[in-house]
């Protein structure tokens, strides 16, 4: 009995520790951002000047860079992960083979991002350079679009895996209802199975988006690290995460550090919101 009690208390404490940790990180981000918030206020979000020499900081280029890379990577990933989810759940009838495939897809998410970044830098970037030469664009290789391609590869496992799970959960009797009315397999998929699992698939994409939003290492390696607002999707840029990774060692003044941390705070809040929303939708779906 006493052992049980001790055990319970340990579990309870570890639970509280996690909550405390998350709130602690959040609070320390808030406190350390105060100098920058006091100095720039809401203008921090709308100013495009990032000028450490004159102690002027604005986050607009990085907000745009982050939004661009995550939205483009999401758009690239959608057709692929949707096809993978449908293939694994509906086409591969053999459960074992389907699960092996799913494991492989999920393993992609386990590749250390620095390796994906290296691949991007040494294989994809030269290829992009050749492509840009052919298109008559300044051949930089690295940039927003290259980073988006890298990101799309990294986020496919999340949406594909969740998509497979939710499509598999569509009850057989509902699908057979459609088949029994003379629908083909494709018509059943299009008009019954996919609408039925839409919320779950959507949540999968949302979580993918959240992942792309905060991904740091690989993006830092291939985005080109330019603190200007990108003027095309091929130009170099900077995301919030890559900016922090690039500049935290150089941040010498208090305001500089505080501005970087405020960007971290924005990243933290947005990522949290996306994740919470995605999880809420999935929970409502079934799990």
């Amino acid at each position: 009995m006493r052992k049980d009690k001790v055990f319970k208390i340990i579990l309870l404490l570890s639970g509280f520790l996690i909550v405390a940790l998350l709130s602690g990180i959040f609070l320390s981000l808030v406190f350390s951002s105060i100098p920058s918030i006091k100095e720039f206020g809401i203008n921090f979000l709308f100013s495009k000047d990032w000028d450490p020499v004159n102690n002027k900081f604005g986050a607009l280029p990085f907000l745009i860079g982050t939004l661009l890379t995550s939205v483009i990577s999401l758009l690239i990933s959608i057709p692929f992960s949707l096809s993978i989810s449908i293939f694994l759940s509906e086409i591969l009838k053999n459960k074992l083979i389907s699960n092996i495939f799913q494991t492989f897809v999920e393993l992609i998410a386990g590749i250390p991002s620095v390796i994906v970044g290296l691949w991007g830098l040494f294989i994809l970037a030269p290829f992009m350079r050749t492509l840009q030469l052919k298109l008559g664009i300044q051949p930089i290789g690295v940039g927003i679009f290259t980073a988006s391609i890298i990101l799309s590869i990294m986020i496919i496992p999340y949406s594909a895996s969740i998509g497979k799970e939710v499509i598999s959960m569509v009850p057989t009797e509902v699908k057979e209802g459609a088949i029994s009315l003379g629908a083909t397999e494709f018509e059943t998929l299009k008009s019954v199975t996919l609408p039925f699992s839409f919320n779950g698939i959507f949540a999968g994409f949302l979580l993918s988006f959240g992942r792309a939003f905060g991904e740091t290492m690989a993006v830092t390696m291939v985005i080109g690290n330019s603190n200007k607002i990108p003027d095309s999707i091929f130009s170099p840029g900077q995301t919030m995460a890559s900016l922090i990774a690039n500049e935290f060692t150089e941040a010498t003044t208090k305001l500089y550090t505080s501005s970087l941390i405020e960007i971290g705070l924005i990243l933290f809040i947005v990522s949290m919101l996306i994740n919470i929303l995605g999880r809420l939708i999935i929970r409502r779906f079934k799990f």
């Binding site: 009850p171 018509e187 019954v192 839409f198």
Partner: protein, 252 residues
């Protein structure tokens, strides 16, 4: 004199190596209700899934023999066409949860991409819902989701959905097994009413239900057709010992 609409000739059905139907010969008469009766696992459901070619969708499933619809071999026709001619209602009500009541009724047309004018759609929806006895209950709420209906209403919506395709035969796979007694009796009355317009094959293990609604009964046991005949005759003087044992509850 009865008209034969469906003729099953020497049908064998398999799941992998397991033979679930053995040498079944059966005739279904037009505009009559025929009950497929028997204990669980006797192949009742497999039989009707062979009739609308759903059986072949299960992995490893195959059949031998012939099924003729008005003399035409069903296994020589596209399965989608077969399923439009032979509608089915399942054990558990399965309206499409993402569709409105209205769309559920014409789902067969929507799914197959058959274009209908607004008037045609309205007409099919109203007629099918009247036939399934649901019209008065849902006519104010046609554009609400079908899943808000009660279980019995959902099942009648599924019957309306099948009737909307104007099928030659309606297959009912234990349609009341998930319903309460009141909803069950509504469906049973509906089955009798529907005889005028459609041939019905009803799968059940409920002897009382078979007696109340069907003209003919085929009794199955362990994959074999034991006895076929007029329900009234079979229930009063069964020819086979097995049938008698099942009817008085000795086996089941």
């Amino acid at each position: 004199m009865e008209n034969i609409i469906l003729k099953i000739i020497n049908l064998n059905a398999y799941y992998g190596n397991q033979k679930v139907l053995k040498n079944v010969d059966l005739e279904i008469y037009e505009n009559r209700v025929t009950t497929i009766l028997g204990p669980s696992g006797c192949g009742k459901t497999t039989l009707i899934r062979c009739i609308n070619r759903l059986h072949e969708l299960s992995p490893g499933a195959r059949i031998e023999g012939q099924i003729l619809l008005k003399g035409e071999d069903l296994y020589q026709i596209e399965p989608m066409i077969v399923r439009q001619k032979i509608g089915m209602v399942f054990q558990k009500p399965n309206p499409f949860p993402t569709m409105t009541i209205y769309d559920n009724v014409i789902a067969g047309y929507i799914l197959s991409g058959i274009k209908l004018s607004k008037e045609e759609k309205d007409k099919i929806v109203e007629e099918s819902l009247i036939k399934s006895g649901l019209w008065d209950e849902v006519k104010e709420n046609l554009f609400k989701k079908g899943t808000f209906l009660s279980g019995g209403q959902q099942q009648r919506l599924c019957i309306a959905r099948a009737l909307a395709m104007k099928p030659e035969i309606l297959l009912l796979d234990e349609p009341t097994s998930a319903l309460d007694p009141v909803a069950t009796s509504v469906i049973e009355e509906l089955i009798i009413e529907l005889k005028k317009s459609v041939t019905t094959v009803l799968v059940t293990h409920n002897i009382g239900q078979a007696g109340r609604v069907s003209d003919y009964t085929a009794f199955f046991y362990l994959g074999e057709l034991v006895e076929f005949g007029k329900t009234t005759e079979m229930f009063t003087v069964p020819k086979s010992k097995k049938t008698e044992e099942y009817l008085i509850g000795k086996i089941g």
